[in-house]
Amino acid sequence: MRTLPATGTSPHEITDDLFVHEPVAAEVAMEVAASAADAPWKAALKRLGKNRGVVPAFVLIMVITVLAFVGPLLTPYTYDGQNVAHSNLPPKISGLGWLGFDGLDSNGVDLYAKRNITEAHWFGTDEFGRDMWTRVWKGTQISLLIALVAALLDLFIGVLYGGISAYYGGKIDNVMQRIIEVLVGIPNLIVIILFILILEPGITSIILAMTITGWVGMARIVRGQILQLKGQEFVLAARSLGVSNSRIMFKHLIPNAMGPIIVTLMFTLPTAIFFEAFLSFIGLGLQAPLASLGVLINDGYKGMRLFPYKLVIPAVMISLIMISFNLLADGLRDALDPKMTK
């Protein structure tokens, strides 16, 4: 080692003047931060509004929801009231004749005039003379009910199950995940057929079948999120402050997983709606005289060539519902998780 001229400080020393207070820097930084951004959810809402698909989809869902409940009240008919004299009438809305709602059947004959019927059935009638307008909205009600049930199951069972499984970890996690694997191992269709053996086919057995497996996707998403979050230091900080487990779960973990939770939820809704329609279509769902969109489509497609309106109207309705939910979900995903865009 070369000898050095004395510098006055020993090589390893840190002089105190390196630690002089610098009050100015704090002020400057403060001003920078003062040009504030919004709360995280506000920024997300802004991004959501900018998405072109979201607004029409949201409006459409609102309109469909309102009509599902108001629609049946606008006509004097009930969804199960039969009137053989009115059977197989084509749709007729006065003023909208140019759209096809002109009361003409596939041969161009005005059945309303021919049968001397003065009332107009807006969406026509089926082979028992039941009013299709009322039945379509009744069916939409069922679809929305299914969507609501799916959402509640996701939120209450899925989020809690996934959260508990991830937060407590270890053996609990292991057991809970094995249970999920067993559940998803059984095909949905078999579960519902088993339920139909015990109960009657109908909304109850569909909901029960969904209760068994409908929340699994959500539970897995939440588990993944919580696993990632629970190792973060703010959770340790909360624990070192003595925060209770339930408060950590609901105040610290779940709010931070809210983005993926909402997105998963929004994607489950159309899947659940479609599941019910599919079951009804193959005859495992709702039974006559109850109407669901799946039942209506099933009835409609039997007479597709002669009475296309019976198939087209409920099919368009379910497509609209599916498209708007999917668009909304897409928009929410982009808004809540900007990293995932493109």
């Binding site: 840190i14 704090a26 703010f234 070192s240 402050l241 709010p255």
Partner: protein
């Protein structure tokens, strides 16, 4: 500094069971004590168990064996008798990463007042707000910023929020787990200054975990050096820098870069050979013997004891034991 021991750690071990036949001995038989009002620096390479010691002290991890005494009382008894809550009001932690240590969904007020809500539930909302403002000003932030979210602050400001959160419950002992490692050098000095000012004002005791040796020397009264889950040397900071006894400490100190380029060139570095051994399968005898430039026969066979070689200077090395002489 008076001569009362605030925290005493006796033969503390924390093992993590990774698999049926795999045990990670993150902390193995560590003993030390911290005087009231002092700052004990804890240094070592990453992965040597520094943070695990800190977290075990706070009962974030349950110790595998050994005991921790706080103000003369066993911590396990204390938490049994009065609950975890009583203990957490005495001891708090400042975290390394100012970006992940604050919940991004909570405002600064919510973050800081969480401790108050738990430890002083009778506090009225208005009083709690005043407390939060006072704490913010104590750490050098403006109370006008209380309703902002963490992402609106810089790293240094976030670290100040973290410090305010820890101080909210009025602890007497704070574990600072690398509080400056993630900050710019200019901000590091500010945070260290703040911590030292607070120590004076509130008579705090610190366990300061870091791997920046020069910073540790500045803030610490005594320094403990850790290697692979064990303490290898413990001494007053001036003493440790002037007279490092353990070969590992020597190597660590020789790695400090010097600001003067001439001195820096002539600096004699002790470069350790090889990687830090796998803590799943630590070396026999002295854990450092595989990389120690001064190792001899006995080092691989017997574990050296952690002995007071010079007054208040403890070292775990055969060079200074009777067997090594």
């Amino acid at each position: 500094m008076n001569n009362r021991v605030l925290l005493e750690v006796n033969h503390l071990s924390k093992h993590f069971q990774l698999g049926p036949n795999q045990t990670l001995r993150a902390v193995d038989d560590v003993s030390f004590h911290i005087w009231q009002g002092e700052t004990l620096g804890l240094v070592g390479e990453s992965g040597c168990g520094k943070s695990t010691v800190g977290r075990t002290l706070l009962q974030l991890y349950k110790p595998t064996s050994g005991e921790i005494r706080f103000a003369g009382e066993r911590v396990s008894d204390m938490t049994e008798r009065k609950g975890h809550k009583a203990y957490t009001s005495q001891m708090q932690m400042i975290f390394q990463d100012p970006y992940s240590s604050l919940n991004p969904r909570m405002t600064v007020t919510e973050i800081i007042s969480e401790g108050l809500m738990i430890h002083r539930p009778n506090l009225a909302k208005k009083e709690r707000k005043e407390q939060v403002s006072a704490l913010l000003e104590l750490v050098g932030l403006s109370s006008r910023q209380a309703n902002r979210y963490p992402h609106e602050f810089s790293g240094g400001q976030r670290q100040r929020i973290g410090i305010a959160r820890a101080l909210a419950v009025e602890p007497s002992f704070i574990v600072a787990d690398e509080p400056i490692a993630a900050l710019d050098v200019s901000i590091q000095a500010q945070i260290v200054n703040l911590l030292m000012d607070l120590q004076r004002q509130k008579q705090l005791t610190y366990l300061f975990i870091a791997h920046d040796l020069s910073m540790v020397k500045h803030i610490s009264d005594r320094i403990a050096v850790m290697y692979l889950g064990q303490l290898v040397e413990l001494a007053a900071s001036d003493e440790l820098y002037a007279r490092p006894l353990h070969p590992y400490t020597e190597a660590l100190l020789s790695a400090i870069p010097l600001p003067d380029p001439v001195q820096e060139q002539s600096r004699e570095r002790i470069v350790l050979q090889g990687e830090i051994p796998n803590p799943l399968n630590p070396p026999s005898g002295c854990r450092f013997h595989t990389r120690c430039p001064k190792a001899f026969d006995i080092c691989a066979k017997e574990i050296p004891s952690f002995a007071e070689v010079l007054p208040q200077h403890y070292v775990k090395c055969h060079l200074y034991g009777e067997k090594g002489e």
